[in-house]
């Protein structure tokens, strides 16, 4: 076993370094990458740039923004399906349960504020540093798992979150995304000027533009709003899923079985 591991590491290292030397893993930048790197942050080309130093977010929410919009729709549909399956089940929470030992509970209590701070920073700096709405949402959703595992399932009620509240907050995120997407349409209807759905800055034939900077701070137009809205939607979407998964089976079985296949 050990010999085979050592041999495979050596073989892989040799093969990859050989491939690198021969140019198969080519280190030169390709034309497409050069284009994105040039246009991600370029105040000189206002009709083409996304004004975001973080090229990945520039691509995800500006250059291929509609693609990301429909990815978000897919995620919502999955959550709606889960809510539909669990319709009619009693409220989450209730029941005793003390969770894990005191040491684990205290350490988790210290970790949760740090987790929230990291998630917020990933969301708000999504247009400047690696990260964005989905990454931040996934980071915050870990808290909902920690609550269930460390403090037992009944803790959701104690921190004041239940499924209707989570659905509301998720919907606020969705409405905010829709608002950013339709703002150019409203502008176009009001002024009669040309504008495109999900438009970020001025285009060759359109004067509409979100502000790239506010009080000297770079916010990259739509990117910061979309990141924060997606953060809200994704984190509470995951939260709904874990609250549904944490329901005790004997409580939800009558609702899940349905009327025609009743006991």
């Amino acid at each position: 076993m050990l010999i085979s591991i050592v041999a495979s590491v050596a073989l892989l290292a040799y093969a990859t370094s050989l491939a690198g030397a021969l140019g198969y893993l080519g280190l030169e930048t390709r034309a497409l990458a050069k284009m994105f790197l040039t246009l991600a942050y370029n105040p000189g080309l206002r009709e083409l740039t996304a004004m975001a130093p973080e090229a990945v977010t520039a691509i995800v929410w500006d250059f291929r923004g509609v693609d990301t919009l429909y990815e978000t729709v897919v995620f919502y549909m999955a959550i709606i399906a889960a809510l539909a399956i669990y319709r009619g089940v009693p409220k989450v929470g209730g029941g005793g349960g003390t969770g894990l030992s005191l040491i684990v509970r205290v350490v988790t209590k210290l970790l949760i504020p740090m987790n929230i701070a990291v998630a917020l920073s990933i969301a708000v700096h999504g247009h400047l540093t690696p990260g964005g709405g989905f990454q931040a949402g996934a980071a915050l959703a870990v808290i909902s798992v920690l609550l269930a595992v460390v403090y037992s399932f009944s803790s959701y009620g104690r921190v004041g979150i239940d499924i209707p509240k989570a659905v509301t907050l998720r919907s606020v995120g969705l409405v905010a995304i829709a608002l950013v997407v339709f703002t150019p349409l409203i502008y176009s209807l009001v002024t009669g000027a040309q504008a495109y759905l999900m438009q970020n800055y001025v285009k060759v034939d359109s004067g509409f533009s979100f502000p790239a900077e506010v009080f000297g701070q770079l916010i990259s137009g739509t990117l910061i709003w979309l990141n924060v809205a997606e953060f809200l939607a994704v984190s509470f979407g995951f939260c709904i899923i874990f609250m549904l998964l944490s329901l005790r089976e004997e409580v939800i079985r009558p609702a899940l079985v349905g009327e025609e296949h009743g006991p």
Binding site: S8, L12, A13, S17, A21, T57, A138, A141, V145, A148
Partner: protein, 86 residues
Amino acid sequence: MVRVDVTLLLLALFSTVGLVFTYLAVSERDLVRAVIYSAVQSSAYAVMLYLLRAPDIVLVYLPVAVGLYPAALLFLIGKTEKVDGE
């Protein structure tokens, strides 16, 4: 003369760690242990993604693969059986 790049060597090392823990996760009969092996494998992959200069993917891969996915599997195991049946 072939030059061995440190990044590539680390990539090979972590991919092997991932391979070993994938084997352990598949062959383990105790499903809770299998989930933990799978999380270790995911951590190795997260390091690989960082070495491949994809920090955006690392930020989403770490919470999903180490936090949310094992948690979903553990909820599932809690509702069924802890040991893989015949």
